[in-house]
C-alpha cells in the first residue's frame, strides 16, 4: 500500500513538472500566434513581394518596404561573424589546447562576465569611443556597418567561445595522444585533428553567435545610425529589422503598428532558420 502512495505522489510531481515544461512552450506558441495575427493582415494588404522587396519605408505615408533592413540585418550579422568568429575560435583553441589550468581559471570567468554586461553599455561605449574613432580615421558619419559589426563581434564572443570550448573539450584525449605520438606539435594537432573532430560543435557556436547578432537591438540602435538606405560600404549607416521595431514602436498605431509586427515575422524566420541550422549541426555530432 505504501508503495502505491509513493508512486502516486511520484506521478503527481511528474505531471506538475510536465505542465510547467509545457507552459514555456505554450508561451512561445502564444508569442508566435500574436506576432502572426498582428502582422499577417498587413503583409496580405501590401503584398508579400512589396513588403519584402521594396526599399521604401515611410509607414505614416503608406509605404511598407523592408528590403533595406533585411539586407542590413544580413550584413551586420556577417560583419559580427567576421570580427567575433575568428577571435572567439582562437580564444577557445587557446583555452582548451594551450592555456595552463591557472590561466584558464582566470580567463573563463572573465569571459562569462562579458556576457553579463548589458547591451546598452556596449552601445554607449560604442557611441562615445568607437564612433568618433571610425569617423576621424576612416571617414563617414562613424555610425556605420563597421562600428556595429565590431561591437556585435565582441558581444557574440561569450556565445561562440563557450559552445566551441565545450565542443573542443568533448574531443577524446586519445585523438591528441595519437597525433603527438606521430610527432605533431600542439598547433598541428589542434588544426589537423581536434578542430576536425569538433567541427560540428564549432559551426554550431558560430551559427548561434549569428543568432545573437541578428537579435541584438539596443546597441545596434545606438551605433548603426538607423538610416533607411541599403549600405553600400562598411562606413554607411544602416537600420536592422530589430532596431526598426524598437525605434518606432512607441509611436506606431494602426497599419504602422501592424507593419512592425510584420517585421517581427521576418525576424522570426531569420532566427528560426539560424537555430535550425545550429540544431542540424549539433545533431550530426551526436550521431557520429
Amino acid at each position: 500500500m505504501a508503495a502505491t502512495a509513493i508512486q502516486r505522489k511520484e506521478k503527481l510531481i511528474e505531471r506538475i513538472f510536465l505542465l510547467i515544461a509545457f507552459s514555456s512552450i505554450f508561451s512561445l506558441f502564444i508569442i508566435a500566434l500574436f506576432i502572426f495575427a498582428e502582422g499577417l493582415p498587413l503583409i496580405w494588404k501590401v503584398g508579400l513581394k512589396d513588403f519584402l522587396l521594396s526599399t521604401r519605408w515611410a509607414p505614416t505615408k503608406g509605404h511598407f518596404g523592408i528590403f533595406a533592413m533585411i539586407v542590413s540585418s544580413f550584413w551586420v550579422t556577417i560583419g559580427a561573424l567576421l570580427f567575433g568568429g575568428p577571435l572567439g575560435l582562437m580564444c577557445s583553441f587557446f583555452l582548451v589546447e594551450f592555456a595552463s589550468d591557472r590561466l584558464r581559471a582566470f580567463i573563463k570567468p572573465a569571459l562569462e562576465l562579458l556576457a553579463g554586461i548589458p547591451s546598452v553599455v556596449y552601445g554607449f561605449l560604442g557611441v562615445v569611443y568607437l564612433v568618433p574613432l571610425v569617423r576621424d580615421y576612416l571617414g563617414g558619419p562613424g555610425l556605420s556597418l563597421l562600428t556595429a559589426s565590431i561591437i556585435l563581434g565582441i558581444m557574440i564572443l561569450p556565445t561562440v567561445i563557450s559552445i566551441s570550448v565545450d565542443a573542443l573539450v568533448a574531443v577524446p584525449d586519445s585523438y591528441r595522444e595519437a597525433a603527438f605520438s606521430l610527432g605533431a606539435t600542439r598547433w598541428q594537432t589542434t588544426y589537423m585533428v581536434t578542430v576536425h573532430a569538433a567541427r560540428s560543435g564549432i559551426i554550431t557556436s558560430l551559427v548561434l553567435g549569428m543568432g545573437r547578432a541578428v537579435g541584438e537591438t539596443m546597441a545596434v540602435i545606438m551605433i548603426a545610425g538607423n538610416a533607411l538606405k541599403i549600405p553600400l560600404s562598411p562606413l554607411d549607416p544602416l537600420r536592422t529589422l530589430t532596431s526598426n521595431i524598437a525605434l518606432e514602436m512607441g509611436y506606431a498605431s494602426g497599419m504602422h503598428r501592424q507593419a512592425l509586427f510584420a517585421t517581427g515575422i521576418v525576424l522570426f524566420f531569420f532566427v528560426m532558420a539560424l537555430n535550425t541550422i545550429a540544431t542540424v549541426y549539433a545533431r550530426r555530432k551526436r550521431i557520429k
Binding site: K229, E248, A252
Partner: protein
C-alpha cells in the same frame, strides 16, 4: 541552498504583496473628488514634453503631498492613443493633432521652438529654409556647397512618428520627404550628443533642450529665441499639448490649472519654452472646450 531559495522566494513574495496595492492604486484613473484624499494620475506621451511635465509634477507634488503624478514617455502618437483609450489621465503631444484625433480635449500648455543645430566648431551661422529643405531632402550633400569645408554633411533626423519630426516636416519640408539616407536617432538627447561630437553634423531638436554642447543657427537670418518666437518672426515652433478624453476634473483639472497659472508658466519659461497664454491669450474656460465645439 534550499534555505537561501526559500528565503529569496519569501522576499519576492513579500515585495509583491507590498508593490501590488501600490501598482493598482497608480493605474486606476482617479477622481480625486475629496480635497485631502490622496489621488494619483498618469501623464504619458511625447518625449519632448516629458522632462517639462516631470518638472511641473515634481513641484506640484511638493506643494500638494496628497497628489501622486506619474509622468511617462512613449511618444506623441502614443500620448494621443493613451488619452483616447484612457490608459493615461493626460496624454501629451508635441505636434498638432491630426484631423481624426480631434475628438479629445486639447490644452496647449506651452509652445516650443525647433532649433536647427550644428557642431559648435562649425562656422555656419545661418541657413534659409529652402537650403535646409534641400539638405534634408538629400539634394545638398556637402558643406562645400554652402561655403564650408569639403566634407559630406551628416544629416540627423528623428524617427517616424516623433512629434518633433512631425513638426519639422510640417514647418521645413512642406511636401518634400526627408531623405532615407539620413541618420535616425530616437531622442532629443541623442541628436544633441551626436551633433555635439560630429563636426560635420546637422540636426534639429527642441529649442528648450539646446545647451552648450551644440550651436543653434539662424533660419532666414533670424536666430531662435523666445522673443522671436513670441513675435512669430521665428516660425519654427509647435504646441505642447495636454490631451484628455473626458472633461478635466479632480486632480487632472487642478494640475492643468496649476500648469496654466502664472507660477506654472514661469517654470516653463525658465526651462526655455514659450508660455501658452502669451501666444494664445484665451481663457482657461475656452481651452477646456472640446476641439470640435471650438471649431464650430
Amino acid at each position: 541552498m534550499s534555505k537561501l531559495f526559500s528565503r529569496l522566494s519569501r522576499a519576492i513574495l513579500l515585495s509583491l504583496l507590498v508593490a501590488l496595492p501600490l501598482a493598482c492604486n497608480n493605474s486606476s484613473p482617479s477622481n480625486g473628488k475629496k480635497k485631502q484624499a490622496s489621488a494619483s494620475i498618469i501623464i504619458a506621451g511625447s518625449t519632448s514634453v516629458q522632462p517639462f511635465a516631470e518638472k511641473l509634477a515634481e513641484i506640484y507634488m511638493v506643494k500638494n503631498p496628497w497628489a501622486i503624478i506619474n509622468v511617462q514617455g512613449g511618444g506623441s502618437t502614443a500620448g494621443v492613443r493613451a488619452a483616447q483609450t484612457g490608459i493615461a489621465n493626460i496624454g501629451t503631444s508635441s505636434r498638432n493633432l491630426h484631423p481624426e484625433e480631434k475628438n479629445l480635449y486639447e490644452i496647449p500648455i506651452a509652445y516650443d521652438g525647433i532649433a536647427v543645430i550644428v557642431n559648435p566648431g562649425n562656422p555656419m551661422k545661418n541657413l534659409s529654409t529652402e537650403t535646409l529643405r534641400k539638405i534634408y531632402a538629400g539634394k545638398i550633400l556637402n558643406w562645400k556647397k554652402l561655403g564650408g569645408v569639403d566634407h559630406r554633411i551628416t544629416t540627423i533626423t528623428r524617427e517616424e512618428g516623433s512629434g518633433t519630426r512631425g513638426a519639422f516636416e510640417e514647418l521645413a519640408m512642406e511636401k518634400t520627404e526627408i531623405d532615407q539616407g539620413c541618420i535616425v536617432e530616437d531622442s532629443n538627447g541623442s541628436v544633441r550628443e551626436l551633433v555635439g561630437t560630429d563636426p560635420y553634423a546637422i540636426g534639429y531638436m527642441s529649442f528648450g533642450l539646446v545647451n552648450a554642447q551644440v550651436k543653434a543657427i539662424a533660419l532666414d537670418n533670424i536666430m531662435p529665441s523666445i522673443e522671436a518666437m513670441k513675435k512669430k518672426r521665428y516660425r519654427f515652433f509647435r504646441p505642447f499639448l495636454f490631451l484628455t478624453r473626458k472633461k478635466p476634473a479632480g486632480l487632472v483639472l487642478k494640475f492643468i490649472q496649476f500648469v496654466l497659472s502664472r507660477e506654472g508658466q514661469d517654470i516653463l519659461v525658465k526651462e526655455g519654452l514659450i508660455p501658452s497664454a502669451i501666444i494664445q491669450g484665451e481663457k482657461l474656460k475656452w481651452l477646456l472646450q472640446p476641439s470640435r465645439e471650438k471649431k464650430s
